[in-house]
């Protein structure tokens, strides 16, 4: 008796096509029937092992389904602004704010410098004064009489007045 070829046995195991003559042979040939049955048993055991393994690993009470639900809700919710937009907005704000801040800071520094200069001038003026402000006219008179050349303008004025008076008398 000619046995089934390996290809024919594989075809029978896969259940692809059942050719009548092959099926009849398996019914009559114990060797071929054993081989087909052996392969089918191995594949059934394989299926059982996968199912057992899967059930063992999937023992939790659908914790991942909660994750799906939250992810699904997240996908339905309005999307948050992408990071690129956040960064661009921040850069724009910085580009506007930094020059304005610098300008106000420069202005403040300039005003402070002016106030400092004024204060310095006042201090110098105060230090260079030899007497109180109220005595200025008296001090001017004294300095003019003691040092006639010091207040040249006043002496010339006085001389001019006197000169005018003298020329009038000659007439």
């Amino acid at each position: 008796m000619k046995h089934l070829s390996p290809e024919q046995i594989s075809s029978l195991v896969a259940g692809i096509e059942v050719i009548t003559s092959e099926a009849a042979h398996v019914r009559e040939c114990a060797a071929c029937a054993t081989e087909v049955e052996r392969m089918k048993t191995v594949l059934m055991q394989f299926r059982g092992s996968v199912r057992t393994w899967s059930e063992k690993l999937n023992h939790s009470e659908f914790p991942v389904q909660k994750a799906i639900a939250s992810r699904a809700r997240g996908s339905d919710a309005p999307r948050r602004a992408p990071m690129a937009w956040v960064l661009a907005t921040a850069a724009l704000a910085a580009a506007v704010a930094i020059p304005a801040y610098r300008e106000s800071r420069d202005q403040a520094m300039k005003e402070q410098a002016q106030r400092d200069d004024q204060l310095l001038m006042d201090v110098n003026a105060h230090l260079s004064r030899s007497g109180p402000q109220a005595m200025d006219p008296l001090m001017r008179m004294m300095s003019t009489s003691a040092f006639p050349d010091r207040d040249l303008g006043t002496a010339q004025e006085n001389r001019g007045i006197r000169g005018n008076q003298g020329s009038g008398g000659e007439k």
Partner: protein, 186 residues
């Protein structure tokens, strides 16, 4: 009634009750993905992705295929993308037999089986695992859908977007290759 058959009687509107869809189909989708990628974490992530995509696309589901077929289509695409994205790691895992054989072999031959018989069954199961790891992606998917998920050829063709003839060819090659690798008697 098988989950796939049960889905055929479900109205399309039932997709809107997504909690029950997840509860009903989760074990099946997770099992197929786990058998394909052989990593628990990856399988859980991909199963989540599968149901998330289904949830997001639930309004496009027109009921042309059964709900189970539709979910399996998504799962197959995710497994394929995952394998392509992580090809090196994936094959490394396959070749290093990442499958926990202790778990795989639990209760294989039944409590009444002799230790010798259990040992033989264990060896055969491990050999099938190794053999499926050597199959092409399509052959492995067809093999798992046929022998783990008990799907018929037309269902497999529908899920994978292949003709029935193409499914037969892939299935024959897969079975023949596995049989050779696990040591066919002839």
């Amino acid at each position: 009634m098988d989950a796939m058959d049960a889905s055929k009687t479900r109205p399309t509107a039932e997709v809107s009750d997504f909690d029950s869809v997840v509860r009903h189909y989760w074990p099946r989708v997770f099992r197929f993905i786990l058998a394909s990628v052989r990593e628990r974490d990856a399988a859980e992530t991909l199963t989540q992705d599968c149901f998330l995509r289904a949830y997001q696309g639930r309004h496009q589901f027109r009921g042309d295929a059964s709900l189970g077929t539709w979910l399996m289509q998504i799962a197959i695409n995710l497994v394929r993308d995952n394998a392509r994205n992580r090809r090196l790691r994936f094959w490394k895992k396959l070749q290093s037999t990442a499958v926990d054989c202790a778990l795989l072999n639990e209760g294989l031959a039944g409590p009444e089986a002799t230790p010798e018989r259990q040992a033989v069954a264990k060896e055969q199961i491990e050999a099938v695992w190794r053999a499926t790891g050597k199959l092409s992606e399509r052959q492995r998917t067809v093999f798992l859908l046929r022998f783990v998920e008990d799907m018929d050829l037309l269902e497999i063709a529908s899920v994978m977007g292949l003709t029935e003839g193409a499914v037969k060819v892939h299935l024959f090659r897969a079975v023949h290759s596995v049989r050779e690798r696990i040591g066919g008697m002839r």
